[in-house]
């Protein structure tokens, strides 16, 4: 499986994450991982001049990294993602080296912070994609699926997968059995009865509790 990683330069903006100055580029060639921090500094300090746009720095809970708010939303994803990715790579490198040298890693909580930042970024991207899809096509879910029954009589949300052949030619898919055999009917009945019984018990208990409370705190003796 060959994947091409698209660099930021191929996007519509001419803003590139790669460092411009030769000094930083040299450092990245001689020392690719430590150069990331220098690259970071380069980018952070050189940011307000890029494209003449206003960029304000906001500090997040992520200690070292400032999530920079850029006015165009297309920049925000790629810029922040690569910064976070590079920071994570650097932290993993330092962690491994500290293990090798039997030395304590300085401030290991940075890894957790970077992971949380990446998760938040994913959440933002997902939200935007959902909104866009809803507006353009009206589809709620990105991945198609449907409610199906499995062999045990339980309903579950089945998410579709891509296959190169139709389902009636797929041996493994046919083995999965998305139907309930007839002899499972008594068990579904029993589980339904159990569910209804527990529901009734909960409601009855709630009513009894209310009755007890109304005896303790009756309306006649209520004081405003």
């Amino acid at each position: 499986m060959i994947i091409f990683f698209v660099s930021a330069a191929l996007c519509s903006t001419d803003f590139s994450i790669r460092p411009r100055a030769d000094g930083a580029l040299k450092s990245s060639l001689t020392c690719p991982k430590i150069g990331a921090k220098q690259q970071l500094n380069q980018v952070l300090h050189g940011l307000p001049n890029i494209l003449g746009r206003k960029a304000t720095k906001t500090c997040t809970s992520c200690g070292n990294i400032c999530l920079i708010y850029i006015q165009v939303s297309s920049d925000i994803r790629l810029f922040n993602e690569y910064v976070l990715l590079k920071e994570k790579n650097m932290l993993l490198t330092i962690q491994q080296e500290s293990k090798r040298q039997c030395v304590q890693m300085p401030s290991p909580e940075r890894i957790k912070k970077v992971n949380r930042s990446m998760q938040r970024l994913d959440g933002v991207v997902k939200e935007r994609e959902d909104a866009l899809r809803l507006l353009q096509t009206g589809q709620e879910k990105g991945r198609p699926g449907e409610w199906r029954r499995n062999v045990f009589g339980k309903m579950f949300w089945y998410r579709f997968r891509e296959h190169p052949v139709p389902w009636y030619m797929n041996k493994i898919y046919k083995r999965k059995r998305f139907y309930t055999p007839l002899f499972v009917a008594p068990y579904t009945r029993i589980s339904l009865e159990k569910h209804l019984r527990s529901k009734m018990r909960r409601e009855r208990k709630e009513k009894q509790n209310q009755k007890k409370l109304s005896v303790m705190f009756s309306k006649k003796t209520a004081q405003i």
Binding site: I2, F4, F5, I17, L29, R77, Q96, E97, V125, P164
Partner: protein
């Protein structure tokens, strides 16, 4: 491709798969055995291929890559915990990347040793001096040339 990990299947004639936000991380490691000066050693995810490594470094870090060789390091499943269950140390893939354009890379010293110097007259200094004297006293007589005290009169 950050959120859903299953990639679309490839059939002849499909467009090339492109990823904007890779979930892979590459860890630079110090080589255990001596490597040629243009070789950099990485620990990568098991799912990455040589082409992935090349594209990752070229596009994200803009490092000119010549050749990439990978191998999978199997880690032991032999150790057992207090419940006598076998504990697996996770396997990892190692990539040896050779830089092009006659560049060299030397793994830097990230944790250089600092010489500790205590202030004069402090408790730590006196303790250090005492420990040093003790060690001197415990050392054998250098005139004996490494021979133990057992032999002799």
């Amino acid at each position: 491709m950050g959120i859903c990990e299953s990639y679309p299947i490839y059939q002849l004639g499909n467009p090339q798969l492109r990823i904007f936000r890779p979930t892979f991380n590459m860890t630079l490691v110090r080589p255990g055995k001596e490597q040629p000066p243009d070789t950099v050693q990485f620990r990568i995810s098991m799912e990455m291929t040589k082409c992935d490594v090349r594209n990752y470094l070229e596009k994200i870090y803009s490092v000119p890559v010549g050749a990439v060789r990978t191998r999978i390091q199997y880690c032991s499943n032999k150790k057992r915990n207090h419940l006598n269950q076998r504990v697996k140390r996770p396997d990892y893939k190692v990539a040896y990347v050779q830089l092009s354009k006659q560049q060299t890379f030397q793994f830097p010293d990230i944790f250089p040793e600092k010489g500790k110097k205590h202030e004069e007259g402090s408790v730590e200094e006196i303790q250090e001096k005492f420990m040093e004297d003790e060690r001197q006293r415990q050392k054998p007589d250098p005139r004996r040339g490494g021979v133990t005290e057992w032999f002799g009169l």
